[in-house]
Structures are given as C-alpha cells and as structure tokens.
C-alpha cells in the first residue's frame, strides 16, 4: 500500500478519552488517543488484552456500553464529529451503511430467535436494496463466500445450530452485506481453522482492492497481521504506544512493550521450556497513570519513565513510538538476543 501519507484521510480520531462509570468509581479505558485512518488501507490494532482495542472501535460505531462515555476528543468522519452523536437516529446514518463491524463475541451480535438466513437478508434488503428472490440469492452467495456449505439448508437454521467458527463467519457475512466504506473486524478469525481463515482473509482483501474498502483488524494473531496489515498500531493501557508500517513494526520495533509482545510468540519458544511472558500485571485503570504505563513491567525503564509520559518520537515519516529510550540523551538499549535475531532474519527476507 506504500505511501500512506499521500492518501486521503477517511477517519480521524483526535485526543480521544473514554471513561466508564462503575458503581461510584471511574475507569479510564482510552487515554488521549489520536489516530488517522486512510482510504483503502488496512490497519491492524494489536496489544494487550484489556488495553482498549474493542472500546476504541466500539466508540467509532456508537456501541459503547451504557456506563461508558466519551470524555474528551473528536472522531471525525465525513465532516461529522461522531463523538458528539447522541441519538440512535444519528448513528443509523453511519452504522452499517458507512462503517460496519464484526464484533468480538459473535453470539451476542446474532439474534438467537431468527434464522441466520433472515438475519443476513435484513442487511441485504436494507443496504443493497434487493428484494425477493434476488435478496435470497445474494444471501446464499454471501454464505458461500464465507465458506459455508449446504447453503439452502443452513439458511433455515438458527445460531445455536452452528459451530463457533461458523457463527463468526455469519457475522462477517452480515457486515459485508452492508457494503460499508469502513469495515472493522474485532478478532474476526479467532475461531477459524487456518484454511478457512486464509479464505476469509482473502475475501476481505479482495473487497478491499475492489471497492477500496478501508479495514481495521483487531487481532492477537501476528500471523494474521503479517498477512493483511499495511500499518500496525500497538496499544497498551488505553494508549497507542507505537505505530508504523507493517515491516517497521515487525522488524524494527522500538517500544519495549512491542518487543515483549513479539518475544512471547510460541515460534520463538523452545518446546518443554517456559514461554517468554511479560511479568507483572497491567495497571489498574481506576487510578491515574504516571509516566509510561508500561514502566513498572519494563526491564529497560529509565527514571523518567516513572514520572513523565513520553511523547511520540519519530523514526520515519510513518513510524512513531512513545518511549523515552528514543530521546537523544537516553542510553542505547538493544532488544533481547532472540528478538534481534528475529528482526534480522525478517529483514533478510525483506531484502532477499
């Protein structure tokens, strides 16, 4: 996808802060995030469980839980600030039609009392203007596209009659049926075997190319990221601590959290031995975070990391990381050996 900076912005998040009220306490889930999304690109968001990935994308769709709210910031899309949308009527202009989402829990976004055929058909009728036989045929086609067999029979079945991965694919079919401009996929292939996964990712890629669809993938599977992403944003404790083009993150990551994340891959482990995992627990989001949120778990942390929140340091036109280690006065720190090897091998492939 090359020069992202020359592309048109389709969505802009500016200084977003999202909080949740919980029985008298306030939890800050998103801590001042800014992010641009470019038309036709595919952005992967990776990061720790609980770091705010789902909350971030749910806010773009107006799907925050009732106890959650946008405290500050803007979400700009087509001259609208979605952060100020308040009514369902506002959101219906965006949801599905402009931006569609495959949520992390497929079961919760399917209606258990309706056949899956009817559920997909509703989206086809509403967003593609098809009716009757045409709509029905379109539904069967979508089912085939996501790798479901015996489509006529499956059309008439209810969600509980499907396996976990099949349900996930139904949700993908519904999202695609909307013909959106931006498609958000929150863990779209976690429940899929590798062959179906490859098929789904290819399907999404084709749509991306054919309709210049913009996609956001949230996934823990760095193999999937390697396959689909043009750019990667890495989240930790409600913040994007590093972002860059896919190669830049895979082979030249700079934030110690990103290092730790890649080091935990089973591919870098030795069978029978412990896998590398980050020690300690993520910060308590009820409390105000001082400095770099990762500092208490970061073996490379400097004194300043505990005091002052690092700004973005620029590594290239496209690659930025929030760590004081990149300050000109900071001591030089190398990533751990196994990781250095992984980076080098990766770069060799890239050049060879």
């Amino acid at each position: 996808m090359g020069e992202t900076q020359k592309k048109t912005k389709i969505l802009s998040i500016e200084n977003l802060v999202i909080k949740f009220k919980l029985r008298g306490q306030v939890l800050t889930a998103i801590r001042d995030i800014s992010l641009d999304l470019y038309k036709g690109e595919s952005l992967a968001i990776v990061g720790e469980s609980g770091s705010g990935k789902s909350v971030l994308v749910k806010s773009i769709m107006g799907l925050l839980d009732k106890n959650g709210y946008i405290d500050q910031g803007k979400i700009l899309y087509n001259d609208n600030d979605l952060a100020h949308f308040s009514t369902e009527k506002d959101w219906l202009k965006i949801r599905g039609k402009e931006i569609a989402m495959v949520t992390q829990d497929p079961m919760t976004s399917l209606n258990p009392l309706k056949t899956i055929g009817k559920q997909i058909e509703e989206a086809v009728v509403l967003h593609q203007g098809l009716t009757g036989k045409d709509a029905y045929e379109k539904v069967l086609q979508l089912l085939r596209d996501v790798g479901i067999h015996d489509v006529e029979k499956r059309y008439k079945q209810y969600p509980h009659e499907f396996s976990g991965g099949m349900r996930q694919r139904i949700v993908i079919a519904i999202a695609i049926a909307c013909n959106p401009k931006v498609l958000i996929c929150d863990e779209p292939t976690t429940a899929l075997d590798v062959t179906i996964q490859a098929q789904i990712l290819q399907l999404l890629k084709n749509l991306q190319e054919k309709y210049l669809l913009t996609t956001i993938y949230i996934t823990h599977d760095l193999g999937v990221v390697a396959k689909v992403a043009d750019r990667i944003a890495v989240m930790y404790a409600g913040d994007i601590i590093e972002y860059g083009k896919t190669d830049e993150i895979f082979f030249n990551a700079k934030h110690p959290y990103t290092w730790a994340l890649i080091s935990s891959l089973p591919q870098l482990g030795v069978k029978g031995q412990e896998l590398y995992s980050i020690k300690g627990t993520p910060p308590n989001l009820f409390k105000e975070i001082q400095g770099d949120a990762f500092a208490p778990r970061n073996p490379y942390a400097l004194k300043i990391d505990f005091v002052e929140r690092p700004p973005y340091f620029k590594l290239s036109e496209t690659h930025f990381a929030k760590t004081w280690l990149l300050h000109p006065n900071a001591p030089t720190v190398e990533p751990p050996e196994t990781l250095k090897k992984f980076f080098e091998e990766g770069r060799e492939y890239a050049n060879g």
């Binding site: 949740f20 919980l22 990061g47 720790e48 469980s49 609980g50 990935k53 789902s54 839980d65 106890n67 992390q104 829990d105 079961m107 919760t108 009659e161 396996s163 976990g164 991965g165 099949m166 694919r169 929150d186 863990e187 976690t190 429940a191 899929l192 075997d193 590798v194 062959t195 179906i196 996964q197 490859a198 823990h220 599977d221 760095l222 193999g223 999937v224 990221v225 390697a226 396959k227 190669d247 895979f250 730790a260 994340l261 890649i262 935990s264 891959l265 089973p266 591919q267 482990g269 069978k271 896998l275 590398y276 995992s277 980050i278 627990t281 308590n284 009820f286 990766g346 492939y349 890239a350």
Partner: protein, 317 residues
C-alpha cells in the same frame, strides 16, 4: 516411549453424536475413537464445524451420545451412573468453553461465577478460604483480584476468557477440556496461561484435551494430536511426528496454511487445498491404520500402499 504401558485416563469408543431426527438428522460425529493418557496434553485440530466442540461437550455430558461410549478411569460416564460417580466426575472433569460470553452467567459477579463450582461441591472449609481461592485463581490468569466484584459484560474479551479459565482451574480437576482457551488473549498472556497449564500439569499430573486452531500453539504444547475432518479422525500421531511428517492430504493442507509472523513469508506462501473427492472410498472404503508406531491414518488399501512408499522414500534421518 512405551505408550502401551501408560495409564489411559479417558477413552472415547466409537462415539457417534447425531443432532436432530429423521430427515433432519445430522451426524456431527461419525465413529470416533481415541484414548487420552494420564498426564498428557492431547490436541484436537481440524476445520471449523468438524465436530471438535461436540466431542468436548459429549465428554462433559452436555451433548447426548447417540452411539458408542466414553470412559473415564475405565468407567463409563454416560447413561445411567451412580450419584457418587456423577459427583466425582462433575468435579474432576472441567471444560473451558469456546464462547466465553455465552458461557458466563451475565447476572452474576465474577466472585460468584468462579466459586459456584466450589460451593456446589463444598470444596472449601470457610469463607476466607473461598475468597483466597478466588483471589489466587484470578491472579494466576493475570487478572486483578479487584475484578471479583464486577459483572462479565464489564470486561474485555480476553479478560472474560480468563474468567472462564479461572473458573475451571479453581475446581482442581484432573482432566480439562480446553476449547480454544486462549484464542482471545494477546501472545504474552497466552504464554502466561500456557506456562500455568504446563506447571499445573507437572505438579498435579493434570491431563488436557486441547482444542485450538492456532497450530503453532498446538505444536508447542501438545504431546499427541488428532486431526478431525467432518466428524471423522483422519490422522493421529505424536505431535512432532504429525507436524514434521503429515500424511493425510487434509493434514497436509492444514499445515501448509499455518500463518507465520513474517509479512514476507506470509504473502508469498503457497497453500495446499484439500479436495475430499480425491479418495475412491465408495469402491474401496478406508479404515484407521497404524502406519508406524503410534501414527494412525484414515486410508484405504491403495492409499496405505502409496503412503508407505512415500514414507520409505521420505526417510531422512
């Protein structure tokens, strides 16, 4: 390894699970047999919809068994069984469910969810001990003890999945069916949970049935692996053997599609496609044969001969 000498903990014999009746009957599990040894991690992999969860749920006695038998420690667990035996297996066999949200009681706080099983089986002597168990269970899976007072929908996907893991571990079971237990976790917490599972295995001789789509994890953690395709096991072997020498064309296709964390390899990769019509099973039906010690493949005579031939040629070490 003398597998014949090892103690069998779970035995699945000619299992059949059929959903629906008459014209609508659907045979999700056809005729599946395998044994799980005490203390091992047995992997189950295969296509989405192939029947992995159904097998797990049959062992949990959630899905009715239409044919065949399931034995735990040599004793049947399905059909009519005594109250004591029922109570024992309810505690000793636990499952980590694939869909965390659907399997957690939405109206209950985490504290209740995690200790429900403890309460039912009276596995603690006083309130302090119960709280301590909940606290430990949360910490073990990387969650803060304060989370105990929250409701499931107030968590992220991966946090919910870990509540499901904590709930199973707190029961101190002997056998755990882990159905995609770490799919929603970032790689670091995955590593933490995998390390925890193998630590418990070493300390308490725990046994796992491990269902996962991420083959890099299956390769890392399991001792033996079975590959299932449309309700039939098509190949079963020691994990390293299976990965280094996959024989059945479906297994081969599966292996070729494993995503790698490298953008260049990943984009230039060639994936093998499995064509189930390649077998001539009408004329020459298959059986489950042991090609080499402990390595079983579903194949007919003609295929066995061919696999044996390529095996011989392929011997490198």
């Amino acid at each position: 390894m003398q597998m014949a000498d090892r103690e069998v903990l779970v035995e699945v014999k000619n299992l059949n699970v059929t959903f629906g009746k008459g014209k609508n009957a659907f045979e999700a599990i056809k005729d599946v047999s395998f044994e799980i040894y005490k203390g091992e991690t047995f992997g189950l992999v295969g296509e989405s919809g192939s029947g992995k969860t159904t097998i797990g749920r049959a062992i949990m006695r959630i899905n009715e068994v239409t044919g065949g038998q399931i034995l735990f420690k040599g004793k049947p667990i399905n059909g009519k069984i005594s109250k004591d035996w029922d109570r024992e297996i309810t505690q000793k066999i636990q499952m980590i469910f694939q869909d965390p949200m659907a399997s957690l009681n939405e109206r209950a706080k985490v504290d209740y969810i995690i200790s429900e099983g403890l309460v039912n089986t009276k596995k603690f002597s006083n309130e302090i001990e119960r709280q301590e168990k909940v606290r430990n269970a949360l910490l073990q899976v990387g969650l803060l003890p304060e989370f105990a007072s929250r409701f499931p929908h107030e968590f992220s996907g991966g946090q919910r999945q870990r509540i499901g893991i904590a709930r199973a571990l707190v029961m101190e079971p002997e056998f755990i069916i882990a159905d995609e237990p770490i799919s929603a976790l970032d790689v670091s917490i995955r590593a933490q949970v995998l390390n925890l599972l193998s630590k418990l295995q070493h300390e308490n001789n725990l046994t796992y049935l491990f269902i996962a789509h991420d083959l890099s994890i299956v390769r890392f953690i399991t001792d033996r692996t079975a590959v299932i395709y449309k309700g039939n096991i098509v190949e079963l072997a020691e994990t390293e053997k299976l990965f280094s020498n996959p024989i059945h064309p479906y297994t081969r296709a599966l292996m070729s599609a494993v995503p790698e964390p490298n953008p260049h390899n990943e984009r230039s990769k060639k994936v093998e496609i499995y064509d189930p019509t390649q077998h001539n099973y009408e004329a020459n039906p298959p059986s489950f044969v042991e090609l080499e010690e402990g390595h079983f493949v579903l194949a007919n005579e003609e295929e066995i001969a061919r696999y044996r031939e390529t095996q011989k040629m392929g011997v490198t070490s």
